[in-house]
Symmetry: C2
Subunit: 366 residues, 2 copies
Amino acid sequence: MKYNETHKGYMEAAFKEAQKGIFSAAPNPSVGCVIVKDGNIIARGFHARHGTDHAEIVALKKAGDKAEGGYCYVTLEPCNHYGKTGPCTKALIASKVKAVIAAIGDPNPNVEGEGARCLRKAGIDVLLDVETSYAEKFYKSYLFKVRNNRPLVKIKIGMSLDARSSMMSGESKWITNHESREDVQFLRAESCVILTGVGTVLKDDPSLNVRHPGIQMKGRQPRRVVLDSRLSIDKNAKVITDGNNTSLFTCSQNNTLIETFEKMGCEVEVLSSRDNRVDLSSVFHKINKMQVNQVLVEAGSFLTSNILSTTFWDELVLYVAPKIMGKDARSAIEVNSPQYLKQVTELELIDSAFFGQDARLTYKRL
Amino acid sequence: MKYNETHKGYMEAAFKEAQKGIFSAAPNPSVGCVIVKDGNIIARGFHARHGTDHAEIVALKKAGDKAEGGYCYVTLEPCNHYGKTGPCTKALIASKVKAVIAAIGDPNPNVEGEGARCLRKAGIDVLLDVETSYAEKFYKSYLFKVRNNRPLVKIKIGMSLDARSSMMSGESKWITNHESREDVQFLRAESCVILTGVGTVLKDDPSLNVRHPGIQMKGRQPRRVVLDSRLSIDKNAKVITDGNNTSLFTCSQNNTLIETFEKMGCEVEVLSSRDNRVDLSSVFHKINKMQVNQVLVEAGSFLTSNILSTTFWDELVLYVAPKIMGKDARSAIEVNSPQYLKQVTELELIDSAFFGQDARLTYKRL
């Protein structure tokens, strides 16, 4: 069996399914699947949320007995382990499909070729890694997490063209336009954690959630992680009261306060401190252990600049508004300068887009 | 006679001719012309430099007697006045061409429909304004000058993504990459004046000329205008010694120095002062009276910011390098801030381009 244009068409249909779960499946990969028999797609499925049936199971259940002798197109190598749901390989073998075609192998150590091997052992034809280039982009943060054992960390900055992000008064709403802010909703939706500082919460009281009618979250919301060294967050802050998940990362030892916030539904993590603030190494050490593929940093210039000064981040997403805020406005980026120009931090421009008059420039840390 | 696809093809050929003089004809418009007879282009011409034959004359001379009964396609309405060369209308009438097709009317008060009227009066068919949309772009700075009675002023800034343009030490070479700096050569080439400050000359000793093998200047170089309040420029500076035109705009009354620089070939203009510096109103008042269609400001952050704070400029061309220079580096833009965000200067993003890892964002003053 060779991968050809016909196969490609069905794989596209499988990715179309996968697209449906792209914002809701995290931290699981958003997998899509179609079962084809006699040249017809007889069943489709996608993985909607962590803990629910995998795409293959959804499709096989729909196909029922008709799956026998069929072709299963799936966007990621089927799993062979008992996680929240049984192994897909077992279900595929039981369904007596003739062949399984997977866009890319799953580098997750629980799978890593075992899915394909197990199917082959049972006499099923398997084509693996047939659309790696597309799948690498589609599963970017999932693959990053599996390969690096830590999430992809994106830093978002909205600024004027003179790189300022708030007026002297602290006023910072809104520098970028409506379309840019809508785009940020997509950045949030593909993230598992939104990282911010207590200063931003106290100043702007943002909800940092996804509330875009075009984004299907199916109930999922990224977890807000607020760095709050002294637990000085307002108990009425939206991130505390809106019912979605929030973690407070603190170095406060005030157990009364800790218990108060825990009772209000927050997770409170007491981390080590550095210069009287939560130590960023501990923050990312903690986040790296969470089931999190992508972190979005949406913070003020102080925390943003502190993170930019470390190696804990991967991409910088700049939204540049066509405005000049002037020298009394606060710089969006305030990292330390080296002595010579040749020593400055160099990044790689990896993407650009435009939202009305705003430019979005995405850079990668080198 | 109606403008059709055949006409369009010949007009494109005329613009191809015009393209040849695009950098050398300034401050004249770069005009191209083709003479067509029996479906063949029998002669082509373009205006190469101020003071030389206009495109129509070049083409008519080549065509000779064969022009009779032919069609003349020209990218701008033929002139009807005696300038450096005789009126083109006279030559066209004498050549006995049957028709003249001009892409756009010339709003120059010396022409302004008179060219077309004069030709029609002589019995020549005239089609005017047949490619206005393309011609508006092609003659952007020329048309701007004629309509507004002042040149189009572009400000160029090369900066890091945190909007810094020099290290604390003053080091600023090179923030942007080679491709961006090559692109700046094109910005210079389409300009008649490069405006800078003495600080930049003393610090970097730039030549501010066009030296790109792909740009046909045919001997023309934009005039450097250096704002030098106290005539403190180095006599060995490249802009003084390289043989190309330089004006020093000063408020110094030191006649010895003035004569020295004049003897070295510079034009020295003594202008009024404001806060012990050359007054920017006087600077632009002076420049507006010069035969100049486009001014490019290439200066340090002080002068750049001062000009940005006025209404004397039209477009801001930002080259953004993928670098973070840090808080000790000097901000590229340091205009005064208003109190509220809604009062900040808003611009219009009119163009974007990428040169390797650098982004070029062009904004228009609103």
